[in-house]
């Protein structure tokens, strides 16, 4: 875990790919893509179905460790309509029950639009991108930051950075990416993949390397 300061806000960057905001006791995650493996299986592609359980248990651990009272998912909760298979729905309902005291919010992402209506018995508040939470704007795709707020939290990109030593590639790591007032979170879902980003010199990057959060010092020249 790494504490960082953006504008006047303190955040905790969690190596399990979540962002905790102590002021409001809120945990942010993005791109869970629950039920992706079920969708693959339906299309005769072999993949173990346990990824949904894996993703949910990662989030559970973060909720427990931080004591968060509210969870915001910054879009793409389920992968596709066919992802709402019985076992996936079952696992998700169990998760909701387990964290009955936590208030759930979903910012609608592109996959959520395709998934369509969620069962009304689930107590999840669904908001459109652009919703506010104090000084923060919540989004899914990294759109322009609204001028009247300090930070836009978003996802969608599944960002990762390549780290090189000379010409040799050391590896590719998921990361948090601060660019122009937008903080892009890494995808928390298992089996969701990453996209390599090419940050600019004034951006800040926190990479997740083997269970640790490391800020890459080659970036963020303007911030330091």
């Amino acid at each position: 875990m790494l504490k960082i300061q953006i504008e006047e806000n303190e955040f905790h960057l969690l190596a399990q790919r979540g962002l905790y905001w102590p002021d409001e006791r809120t945990l942010f995650v993005t791109d869970t893509h629950l039920g992706k493996s079920a969708t693959f299986q339906r299309n005769s592609m072999a993949i173990p179905g346990s990824t949904t359980h894996g993703t949910l248990s990662t989030i559970s651990k973060m909720l427990d460790a931080t004591g968060a009272t509210s969870l915001v998912i910054l879009g793409d909760l389920f992968h596709a309509r066919s992802s709402l298979a019985a076992e996936v729905v079952g696992a998700f309902e169990e998760f909701l029950e387990q964290h009955a005291r936590v208030q759930f919010t979903l910012v609608r992402g592109n996959h959520d639009l395709r998934v369509g209506e969620l069962p009304s018995r689930w107590s999840i508040e669904i908001v459109d991108p652009g919703a506010r939470k104090s000084a923060l704007a919540l989004g899914h795709e990294p759109t322009e930051k609204p001028s009247d707020c300090q930070i836009l939290l978003c996802g969608h990109l599944h960002p990762a950075v390549r780290i090189r030593e000379g010409r040799q590639l050391v590896g590719k790591f998921p990361c948090f990416w601060l660019n122009d007032g937008r903080l892009v979170l890494p995808a928390v879902g298992e089996f969701t993949g990453t996209m390599v980003i090419h940050p600019g010199p004034s951006d800040r990057i926190w990479a997740l390397v083997m269970g640790e959060v490391i800020e890459l010092p080659q970036f963020g020249a303007a911030a330091q």
């Binding site: 173990p48 040799q168 089996f191």
Partner: protein, 844 residues
């Protein structure tokens, strides 16, 4: 194209009616005579063997009449069965009899021309056609109704035909399956695919005869057995083709010889000498070892001789097929003075005009040298001429060693692969689409191949579970339905699954390749995605011998325009570097031993006299039963050079192994580098080599565990898994037009690898990726043999005051690539500190 019957031209009309018709042998002899040939004895012996129902393998250098040795056999047989010419009717060609399997679809056209010759002369009513990935859709559709008498095809296309149930009846009539260039398929997954398809054909027709054509290999009997499978009823025939072609080898010796050779120096210093050599030739092939080298040489030659524009050309596997075809046609017509190429021109195609082959850089194997030389003088009886251009001085030793190996007849073996399960998964689904199977019967058929003779019952059960349930029965996926079971019968029922599978048949991995196109639409070829995506718009790079400017990348196509000026980069393609073969390594060690005794045999060795003397003055030239270790302290730290002369891949494993075992004696971290001759380990602290040598530094004990824990084995397995996932059908490309709509089904092999590792660690495909890393990337069996040999060697430890000629190239390599024995997190944190220091120099 089909063969047309032209009775008006018949030469047999001249034969008086009263006389008997010519015998089949007389007809064939007449054809040979018309070409100015006479059947060779080995050709006749293949024809005779064929008549007795035998199968076998014909091996010899290229251009020695192997094709006719096999092709005439079924023609003779048919002539014997159908002596009455009046019954021949080209409108009703005989049904499918011969399958001709060629490894490259680009070769199908040339093969078709070669095979058509005798058909046309003899006016046989046979229909001869090709069916490859390049064939027209209309032709393919017609073939699906009725196959021709003889069909030229590739392993992939043939495998694809097995998915059409109604073709099986015709495939069952095949009497002869010919596998051309079998040495090219052997030892690859496509070779295993060929074995499986042949087993299927034998199941359909137990009397099927199989003949292979191959270059000469070190393990020719094994090659033959692999082709024919187990339980062959007749004794396999191995027929040696014509005697070895006369070979004229010359080296272009740099003047002066640098005493500190460094590898990777692509030897363009030799361009003027090569240009001079080309002045005196009609048509030459210049083989370079990598695609980027071909680009460089092409440019350099043009710079040297600007008037050769249009007379020289470039040929490598990443160029678009239309570009390649243009070059091949130019070569065939003898219009090109020289073509710079990679192994892309190693195969079949007959370029009679070529009278000289130039090999740039070591060919790394004796068989390969021989085969490349055979590309010149491509006619029976002609002489092959090869000129060798070393890219560093030490390569002259390799050429000298290769000549010795050829003279001793010690050519490289190509070991066949052992049960790659991804290929089997693909084949099982193929058979399930093509009508289905019973598990026991298919298992028996699969085990009749050499590749799967040791397939266990457990492995077979896993394969069946995988295609039916998506994994072992413990991790059943309820929604998964690829192959369905109906009683005892396994079948694919959903047309969608069959369609997807057909799109994915094939085992050749093309690494995320991206097309390069002009803005106006003409395709130039492909380069690696990782290279192209790094270019910024406006950046210049060299490709296909042209300087291009990147415009934009859209939907996996890089759009470029032509530009002038110096290129800023040249694409690098993966997998360009071959390690020195085991056979050649052995002869190389002999050469060095000879030199240590003061014997310099041959022009190449004599030209190295100065370098070799310096080496023995400053350190030692090791004998074959000695292992040379040089310890040098330089400004950069403590260096340990070890010279096993075993080839780069073995050295990579060995370097990691030594680093691990040394660090067990005393915690120490290294950076290291390897080449074909040796290893360098470098550390900031003194390296405890003496105590290490007293222990089990070179022991074979715990070899696999030590190697795995000393290398980034997971990362390597993950990369290897990419191909396995594709072959086994985990990742599906789908229709090109489908890309968008199937976006929600896209996943990379890395994602599969991670998920399987976490939730299904017993997955045998994961296991296979680990095994392939050990067998192919680390050559673990060669490493074991090498360690056993080194264990018997006397270690000669020297402390030269300066870097020796043998050590110098390693030192240069080390500057270029640093491999370190640190853990990933250590490395990142060190990098982080370094960067922090350099970003903020005042704080230190």
């Amino acid at each position: 194209m089909s063969f047309e019957f032209k009775p008006q031209n018949s030469k047999w009309n001249n034969v008086p009616k009263s006389r008997k018709q010519p015998t089949p042998s007389q007809r064939v002899d007449a054809y040979f005579q018309s070409m100015g040939w006479r059947p060779f004895r080995f050709q006749r012996s293949v024809w005779n063997a064929y008549m007795t129902g035998a199968s076998g393998l014909v091996h010899s250098a290229t251009g020695t009449g192997k094709t006719m040795a096999v092709w005439i056999a079924p023609i003779l047989k048919w002539l014997k069965e159908n002596p009455e010419t009046s019954c021949w009717n080209a409108k009703r060609p005989p049904s499918l009899r011969v399958l001709w399997i060629t490894p490259l679809r680009a070769l199908a056209g040339d093969t078709e021309n070669a095979l058509r010759g005798p058909l046309q002369y003899l006016e046989l009513p046979w229909r001869l056609e090709s069916r490859t990935g390049d064939s027209k859709a209309s032709l393919k559709a017609r073939q699906l109704k009725k196959l021709p008498t003889a069909l030229i095809t590739t392993p992939e296309s043939l495998s694809l035909m097995l998915t059409h149930e109604h073709l099986l009846e015709q495939l069952a009539e095949v009497e002869l399956a010919v596998v051309d260039e079998w040495h090219e398929l052997l030892g690859t997954k496509r070779g295993v695919q060929t074995e499986l398809v042949l087993a299927r054909l034998r199941q359909l027709n137990p009397r099927l005869q199989t003949w292979g054509l191959s270059a000469t290999l070190g393990n020719i009997e094994q090659a033959c057995q692999t082709l024919l499978g187990q339980n062959t009823k007749t004794r396999p025939r191995i027929v040696a083709g014509m005697n070895r072609k006369r070979l004229h080898l010359q080296s272009i010796i740099p003047n002066p010889i640098e005493r500190f050779p460094w590898s990777g120096h692509i030897g363009t210093r030799m361009v003027p000498q090569v240009a001079e050599l080309l002045d005196g030739t009609r048509s030459a092939l210049l083989f370079a070892n990598t695609r980027s080298q071909t680009e460089i040489w092409y440019q350099q030659l043009l710079k040297q001789r600007p008037d050769w524009t249009g007379q020289i050309a470039l040929h490598h596997g990443s160029l678009d097929s239309s570009v390649r075809r243009w070059v091949e046609d130019g070569l065939r017509a003898g219009k090109l003075r020289a073509v710079v190429c990679t192994s892309s021109l190693d195969l079949g195609v007959d370029f009679t005009a070529v009278d000289l082959v130039i090999q740039i850089g070591s060919p790394k194997g004796a068989a390969r040298l021989l085969q490349r030389a055979g590309r010149s003088g491509h006619q029976p009886g002609a002489q092959s001429r090869l000129a060798f251009v070393p890219t560093n001085a030490l390569e002259l030793i390799e050429l000298a060693a290769a000549q010795d190996a050829i003279a001793a007849g010690k050519l490289e073996a190509r070991p066949p692969l052992n049960k790659p399960l991804d290929v089997l998964v693909q084949h099982v689904v193929t058979v399930a689409i093509g009508g289905g199977f019973k598990a026991d019967a298919l298992l028996k058929e699969v085990r009749s191949t050499m590749a799967y003779q040791s397939l266990t019952d457990e492995e077979w059960t896993w394969i069946i579970d995988f295609v039916v349930r998506g994994g072992s029965s413990l991790t059943a996926y309820p929604e998964y339905r690829r192959v369905v079971v109906d009683g005892e019968w396994y079948q694919v029922k959903e047309p969608r699954i069959a369609r997807m599978h057909r799109m994915n048949i094939g085992t050749i991995a093309s690494d995320a390749a991206m097309q390069i196109k002009y803005l106006k639409g003409a395709t130039l070829g492909t380069a690696e995605e990782s290279f192209l995506t790094k270019l910024k718009p406006g950046e210049r790079f060299q490709f296909a011998g042209r300087v291009l400017e990147m415009v934009r990348i859209r939907e996996n196509v890089a759009y470029v325009r032509r530009t002038k000026g110096e290129p800023e980069s040249i694409p690098r393609w993966m997998g360009g570097r071959m390690p020195l073969s085991a056979e050649l390594s052995e002869f190389l060690r002999r050469k060095i031993e000879q030199a240590s005794a003061g014997q310099l045999v041959g022009r190449e060795m004599r030209s190295l006299q100065g370098l070799l003397e310096l080496q023995s003055r400053w350190s030692v030239l090791p004998q074959r039963d000695e292992l040379l270790v040089e310890r040098i302290k330089t400004r950069d730290g403590h260096q340990l050079f070890v010279f096993p002369f075993e080839g780069r891949l073995v050295h990579e494993g060995l370097a990691a192994l030594l680093a691990l075992r040394l660090s067990k004696i005393k915690p120490i971290s290294f950076s290291m580098a390897c080449n074909d001759y040796g290893i360098v380990l470098q550390s900031t602290q003194p390296i405890p080599i003496e105590p290490a040598l007293a222990t089990r530094l070179l022991s074979v004990e715990n070899l696999v565990d030590d190697v795995l824990s000393s290398m980034n084995a997971t990362e390597m397995a993950m990369r290897q898994f990419r191909q396995i996932a594709r072959v086994a059908g985990l990742i599906q490309g789908g229709y090109p037009s489908d890309r968008k709509s199937s976006g929600h089904l896209q996943a990379s092999s890395n994602m599969f690898f991670e998920v399987f590792s976490k939730y299904d660690s017993g997955n045998l495909l994961l296991e296979q990726s680990r095994r392939e890393v050990l067998d192919q990337q680390l050559e673990i069996s060669r490493l074991r043999v090498a360690l056993e040999r080194l264990g018997q060697c006397r270690v000669v430890l020297t402390n030269p005051s300066k870097v020796t000629p043998l050590a110098f190239p390693l030192l240069v390599d080390k500057l270029r690539e640093r491999v370190s024995s640190e853990s990933l997190i250590d490395r990142i944190q060190r990098l982080q500190r370094q960067l922090e220091l350099s970003a903020d120099p005042e704080s230190c």
